[in-house]
C-alpha cells in the first residue's frame, strides 16, 4: 500500500528482529492455500473413525462447566485434549490475531457471535453433514462452519416481591413506571446479541427507537449477567435482562431458599431470542479427524444430556429433555433469525454508543 504503511511494517520487523534474533523467517504473508487433503474425510459416516492423537481446544465455555465433558471424551475415545480456557470473545480475538498459525484445533464458544467472527475470516473448516444434521439448521452456521451445541433463552429475571406482574414483552419495558428499575449488562455478549437481533429483525430505525426509549428509562448497568441477577434477587433493581440459566445456576449454588427471583419467559416476543453455544473445527488444524470427533461428541446424546445437567441450557438434539421447571423448547417460540447475522456486533455497538448505552 502507501509508503507510511510500508515504513511501519519495516519498523515492526526491525523491532521484532531486535527482540527475537531468530525471527523474520515466518514474517512473510501466509495467504491461505487451504487445500487440505484431509477434507476428503469430511463426510464419512462416523466422524470419530480412526481418530487418534491429541488436540488443542480453545474453550470459551468455563472449566467449571465443561472440564468433566472433556475428560469423559478422552476416556471414551482415547483422544487427548489440551484445553485453553478463556472468555469466548477473547479467544475469538486470539484466533483472529493468530490467523492461520493458530495452534487451536477446535473453538468451543459461548455464543454465536464469536463463532461468526472466526467464520467470517475463513478460519473454520466445513463440518461433515453427520454432525450438522444432528441439530436443527437454524441453530448452526448456514455454511456449515460451526454447529450449535446448546441453547440459551433471553428472559426477564424479576423480583416477585417488587414486581407482582412482570412484563410479557420488551416493549412494555419502555413504560416510565420502570424508570431506574431495570438492570442490564451493557458489555455482555448475550445482551449485544439481543440488540443485534433487534436491529436485524426490526431494522435500524425501529431498533434505535426502542433503545432510545430504553436509555431514557435510566437502566442500571452491571458488569455481567450474574451481577444483574444478584441485583434483582437482592431487590436493588426490580428486573433484569439476562439468559434463562443464571437463575438455575444461583439456585444450584445457594439453594432454592436463597433465591427469590424468578424468570419471565417471553414466547412470541423478540425479547425471547434463543442464542446458542457452538463449536467449529479450525481449517488449519493438524488433526482435523480428532477435532471433528470432539465436536460430534458435543452433539451426541451424552454431550447434550451433560449440558442440560451442568449448565441448565436447552438441548438442541431431539430426544434429550430440558431441566425441570423450564418450559419445553418448542413452547419458547423465539423470533426467527439467522444466528450468523448476530456477528454484526460492531454495528450494534455503534448504535448502543449513539444512544448512550455503551461507551466505545
Amino acid at each position: 500500500m502507501s509508503t507510511p504503511r510500508r515504513f511501519l511494517n519495516v519498523s515492526v520487523s526491525f523491532l521484532v528482529a531486535g527482540l527475537f534474533p531468530i525471527a523474520l523467517v515466518a514474517c512473510g504473508g501466509d495467504d491461505g492455500e487451504s487445500n487440505d487433503t484431509s477434507s476428503e474425510i469430511a463426510d464419512s459416516a462416523d466422524p470419530c473413525e480412526g481418530a487418534t492423537g491429541t488436540i488443542t481446544v480453545y474453550s470459551g465455555r468455563s472449566e467449571k462447566l465443561v472440564a468433566d465433558l472433556y475428560t469423559s471424551f478422552s476416556t471414551d475415545t482415547g483422544i487427548g485434549v489440551e484445553v485453553r480456557y478463556g472468555d469466548s470473545g477473547e479467544l475469538a480475538g486470539q484466533i483472529l490475531t493468530e490467523g492461520s498459525a493458530s495452534p487451536a484445533d477446535v473453538f468451543f464458544s459461548q455464543d454465536a457471535g464469536a463463532l461468526g467472527a472466526v467464520s467470517q475470516v475463513g478460519l473454520f473448516a466445513t463440518l461433515p453433514t453427520s454432525i450438522l444434521d444432528r441439530v436443527p439448521s437454524e441453530f448452526s452456521s448456514p455454511i456449515g462452519h460451526w454447529v450449535g451445541t446448546s441453547g440459551r433463552v433471553r428472559v426477564i429475571v424479576y423480583n416477585p416481591t417488587l414486581v407482582p406482574a412482570p412484563p410479557a414483552s420488551i416493549d412494555e419495558l419502555l413504560d416510565s413506571s420502570w424508570k431506574g428499575k431495570i438492570g442490564f449488562a451493557p458489555t455482555n455478549a448475550s445482551w449485544q446479541s439481543f440488540v443485534t437481533a433487534l436491529r436485524v429483525i426490526r431494522g435500524e430505525d425501529a431498533a434505535r427507537e426502542w433503545l432510545q426509549g430504553f436509555a431514557d428509562n435510566d437502566p442500571v448497568a452491571y458488569e455481567k449477567n450474574g451481577a444483574v441477577r444478584d441485583a434483582v434477587n437482592a431487590g436493588e433493581v426490580s428486573l433484569g435482562l439476562v439468559n434463562h440459566y443464571y437463575l438455575f445456576e444461583k439456585i444450584a449454588a445457594e439453594g432454592a431458599d436463597a433465591v427469590v427471583a424468578k424468570n419471565q419467559y417471553l414466547p412470541g416476543d423478540i425479547g425471547g431470542l434463543v442464542n446458542v453455544a457452538g463449536a467449529g473445527v479450525l481449517a488449519e488444524s493438524g488433526n482435523r479427524r480428532a477435532a471433528q470427533c470432539l465436536v460430534s461428541y458435543f452433539v451426541s446424546d451424552t454431550g447434550q444430556q451433560y449440558f442440560v445437567d451442568e449448565s441448565f441450557e436447552y438441548p438442541l438434539v431431539g430426544g434429550v429433555a430440558p431441566v425441570d421447571g423450564q418450559p419445553a423448547f418448542d413452547e419458547l417460540d423465539p423470533p426467527a433469525i439467522d444466528l450468523s447475522d448476530l456477528s454484526s456486533i460492531a454495528a450494534t455497538q455503534e448504535l448502543l454508543a449513539d444512544v448512550g448505552l455503551l461507551t466505545l
Binding site: 480475538g93 495452534p103 437482592a234 466505545l360
Partner: protein, 507 residues
C-alpha cells in the same frame, strides 16, 4: 568534587552495558510497534477520525480525573505514613513499615470484588478511586520510606533550632527534600491507574482500559482498540516527561552516607493522629478485603480440592519467580547506566521502558500473541514467551528498584576507581554490582508480586493446560462464584504478601 564529576560525565558509556540496555529498551517497545501498525491499518484518515471524537475526549477526561485523584490521594497518604514510620518515634513503627506496604499484595480486581460484593452502590468513580488508592499508594509509600531512611538529619536539626520544629513542618521539610522520589512514585501510581482494568471494570467506571477491552473482545475491532491504546501511550508519555521535570535535581539533596543515623523525632500528642491514619488505611486496604475473602472461604463448598489450589499456586510461583530473575537481569544494564552515567541517552533508555508498562495488560497480551505466533512459534503458548511478556511489562519496576540503590553509591567512588586505572566495566563489576545487590533482591521481589497478580497477559499467554492463582480466581469470579474463588483469593494475598514483605523489610 566538581572536576571529578565532569570526568565521570564525559567518559564514554561502556559498550557492555549499552548494547544489552539498548536491545532491552527497544525490545520492550515491540507491543507499541504492533499497536502503531494496527492503528494505521485502515489509513491515517481513519485514525484521525477515530481520535477526533467527542467520546475519545470524554474518555481522556474520565481516565485523567481518576489518575489525578488517585495519585494525589496516594501522595497525601504516603507522606505522613512514610514519615511517621521512618523519622518519628511512632509506637510499633517497625511493624507498621511492613504492614503499610502489604496492600501491594491485593490485586485491584480482588479488592474491587470485595467491595462491590459488599456494597454495590460503590460502583462508579468513587468506588474505583477507593480501590485504586488502596492498592496503589504503596508505590509512593515504599520508595518514600527508603528515601526518608537515607535523609540527612541536618536540615531537621537546623529547623528545630530555628523554632520551626512543629511536626507538620518537619514532615513537609523532609518531603520536600524527597521531591524526586515522590515524583517517581506518583508516576508509577498514575500509570497503574491508567492501565488498570480490574478495578474500573468491576466498578463500572468507563475508563480507557474497559473501553479498549470491549473493542477487542466484543467488537473484534482491533483498529479502534489500538487507536485508543495509542492515545493512552501519549498520555503516559506526557506523564513520564512531567515526572522528569518534577524530579528536578532531587538526588543532590540526599546524604552521601548509605544510611544516615538519626534520632527519631518525638511525636508526643500528635502520635494518636498518625496511629489513627495507619489503622484506617490498613483497615480499608488490607483488613477489609481479607475479611471478605475469609467470608467467601467460610462458605466454601468442595468445589476444588487442595491439589487444584496447590497446582495453581505452583504455576503462579514458578512463572513469576523466573520472570523476576529475567527482568532483573535485563533491567540491570539500564539501571546502572541511568544511575551512573546520567545523560539524555540513558534517561531516554530508562523512560522508554515505561511505555509498555503503561499499556493495559490486554493490549500487551494481544500484541504478544501477534508477535509470538508469527516469529516465536516454537515457544508460543509456552513458558518462555510468557516470561518475555512479563519482562516487557514489568521492566520499569525492576529498573526503578535497582536504580534507587545504585544512586546511593557516591559517584566519587567510581571516579576514584577510574583514576586508579580501572576500566568502566571493572568499576561496574567490582564496585557497583556488590553495592546494588540488596536493590536487586528488592527489584526481584517487586516483579514477582506484580507477575503473580497479573491477569490478562497470563490468561492469553500461559502454557495451554496450566493454571495460575489469578486465572483460577478469574474463572470463578466470572460466574460470580465467590465461594469457589475464596481459596485462590486467599492464596494470592498470602503468597504475594511474601515478596511484598521482602521488598519492604530488606533494610
Amino acid at each position: 568534587m566538581s572536576t571529578t564529576l565532569k570526568i565521570s560525565r564525559r567518559s564514554r558509556l561502556p559498550a557492555p552495558l549499552v548494547v544489552p540496555a539498548v536491545l532491552a529498551a527497544v525490545a520492550s517497545l515491540a507491543p507499541l510497534a504492533y499497536l502503531v501498525d494496527v492503528a494505521f491499518d485502515r489509513g491515517a484518515s481513519y485514525l484521525w477520525d477515530e481520535i477526533w471524537q467527542r467520546r475519545t475526549l470524554d474518555l481522556v477526561v474520565r481516565s485523567g480525573l481518576l489518575a489525578a485523584a488517585v495519585t494525589a490521594a496516594s501522595v497525601a497518604l504516603s507522606i505522613p505514613l512514610a514519615w511517621s514510620v521512618m523519622r518519628s518515634d511512632l509506637v510499633g513503627r517497625r511493624v507498621w513499615r511492613v504492614v503499610l506496604a502489604l496492600p501491594l499484595a491485593v490485586p485491584s480486581y480482588l479488592a474491587a470484588f470485595a467491595w462491590i460484593s459488599w456494597e454495590s452502590s460503590l460502583a462508579g468513580f468513587w468506588g474505583a478511586f477507593l480501590v485504586l488508592t488502596a492498592v496503589s499508594y504503596p508505590y509512593v509509600y515504599l520508595p518514600l520510606t527508603a528515601a526518608f531512611s537515607r535523609l540527612d538529619q541536618a536540615l531537621e536539626e537546623i529547623a528545630s533550632v530555628h523554632g520551626r520544629g512543629s511536626t507538620t513542618r518537619l514532615m513537609m521539610l523532609a518531603a520536600r527534600q524527597c521531591r524526586g522520589t515522590i515524583a517517581a512514585g506518583s508516576l508509577l501510581v498514575a500509570l497503574y491507574v491508567l492501565s488498570d482494568f480490574g478495578a474500573v471494570a468491576t466498578m463500572r467506571y468507563d475508563a480507557f482500559t474497559w473501553v479498549i477491552y470491549g473493542a477487542y473482545r466484543a467488537g473484534f475491532n482491533p483498529t479502534r482498540a489500538a487507536v485508543l491504546a495509542l492515545v493512552l501511550v501519549l498520555i503516559a508519555l506526557a506523564l513520564v516527561v512531567a515526572e522528569v521535570v518534577a524530579r528536578g535535581r532531587a538526588v543532590t539533596t540526599m546524604t552521601s552516607r548509605a544510611v544516615a543515623r538519626h534520632r527519631p523525632i518525638r511525636l508526643r500528642r500528635n502520635a494518636v493522629w498518625f496511629q489513627l491514619l495507619a489503622v484506617a488505611i490498613t483497615a480499608v486496604s488490607l483488613v477489609f478485603p481479607v475479611w471478605r475473602i475469609l467470608v467467601w472461604v467460610d462458605s466454601y463448598g468442595p468445589e476444588d480440592g487442595f491439589g487444584d489450589v496447590m497446582s495453581a499456586l505452583w504455576g503462579s510461583v514458578r512463572y513469576s519467580v523466573v520472570a523476576a530473575v529475567a527482568t532483573v537481569l535485563v533491567a540491570l544494564p539500564i539501571a546502572l547506566l541511568v544511575a551512573r552515567y546520567r545523560t539524555r541517552t540513558t534517561l531516554l533508555l530508562d523512560r522508554s521502558t515505561y511505555v509498555t508498562h503503561a499499556l493495559p495488560g490486554i493490549v500487551v497480551a494481544i500484541s504478544m500473541v501477534f508477535i509470538g505466533v508469527r516469529v516465536m512459534r516454537p515457544v508460543y503458548l509456552e513458558a518462555p514467551l510468557l516470561v518475555l511478556a512479563y519482562v516487557a511489562l514489568f521492566l520499569p519496576l525492576a529498573v526503578g528498584g535497582i536504580r534507587a540503590s545504585a544512586e546511593q553509591i557516591p559517584l566519587g567512588l567510581d571516579d576514584v576507581a577510574r583514576s586508579l586505572g580501572s576500566s568502566p566495566m571493572a568499576v561496574v563489576r567490582r564496585i557497583n554490582l556488590p553495592l546494588v545487590a540488596p536493590g536487586l533482591a528488592a527489584a526481584a521481589a517487586l516483579v514477582t508480586l506484580a507477575a503473580m497478580k497479573e491477569l490478562p497477559v497470563t490468561m492469553l499467554l500461559r502454557p495451554t493446560g496450566t493454571e495460575t492463582l489469578a486465572t483460577r480466581l478469574w474463572t470463578y469470579t466470572t460466574v460470580s462464584d465467590y465461594a469457589g474463588a475464596g481459596p485462590y483469593a486467599l492464596a494470592i494475598i498470602v503468597f504475594v504478601a511474601i515478596p511484598t514483605a521482602i521488598a519492604t523489610g530488606r533494610r
